[in-house]
């Protein structure tokens, strides 16, 4: 089998564009920020991976 091609990201129109724009604005206003606990876990996970990175 041949792997599927990586899909292009289309120009967002209509309701898709409205939804995207609304969420982006909400994010800029801090409405979707992750919790301190999630942030702590994310930084810990990233640090674990960082230890084994073998490229610059």
């Amino acid at each position: 089998m041949m792997a599927l091609p990586i899909k292009d990201t289309p120009v967002l129109t209509g309701k898709d564009a409205d939804r995207f724009w609304k969420r982006a604005a909400e994010c800029e206003a801090g409405l979707h920020k992750i919790s301190d606990e999630e942030r702590k876990k994310m930084i810990k996970n990233a640090a674990e991976i960082e230890k084994i990175v073998k490229f610059k």
Partner: protein, 174 residues
């Protein structure tokens, strides 16, 4: 994460270690991409693949490429947005696969957390979003939703893959 594992940038002369993402359609596709196409994508400057491997196996890999999210210029003026950008810079995870024996062990989430932190703290260009081309299978969609991704469009509901995105601002503002 064992210290005997390595996260490498795939080079053309790198000898790929065994990889098997499972027998689902998505699994077979991801295995095929890694074994047969990841180096071609690198050679053609289309995508760079990063490989997490142990001494004898490929544990996981992901392929990244530059992307952007474009909004139509016809906009709903009722939605507030101070900057009015029509194009946002993004990075696309074109493929992301975990060896079947390591699935369900949070390795995917760990790698995504690393990518999210990397692109918010150590990126050389602006990047607002991470986009993914996710296989339209319940377990895959569930994984991305668990990691904070949402659908970019509702028009690809019946396609083999669905575009999803993560807004890096949700990390920056915390």
């Amino acid at each position: 994460m064992s210290n005997s594992n390595n996260l490498l940038r795939l080079e053309l002369n790198h000898e790929l270690k065994p990889f098997d993402c499972g027998d689902t359609k998505a699994g077979k596709d991801l295995t095929d991409f890694f074994i047969n196409q990841s180096k071609d994508h690198l050679k053609q400057l289309l995508a760079v693949t990063y490989v997490l491997e142990s001494e004898d196996k490929t544990i996981a890999y992901y392929s990244v490429l530059n992307d952007k999210i474009n909004r139509s210029k016809k906009m709903n003026k009722l939605i507030p947005n101070a900057k009015h950008y029509f194009t946002y810079p993004a990075v696309k995870i074109g493929r992301f696969g975990v060896y079947k024996d390591y699935q369900g062990k949070d390795i995917g989430t760990q790698l995504f957390d690393y990518i999210k932190v990397l692109f918010t703290t150590n990126n050389r260009t602006g990047c607002r979003f991470i986009t993914v081309d996710a296989y339209n299978e319940p377990s895959v969609i569930k994984f991305y939703e668990k990691n904070g991704f949402t659908f970019l469009s509702l028009k690809d509901e019946t396609e083999e893959t669905r575009l999803m995105y993560f807004d890096l601002m949700s990390i920056v503002l915390s």
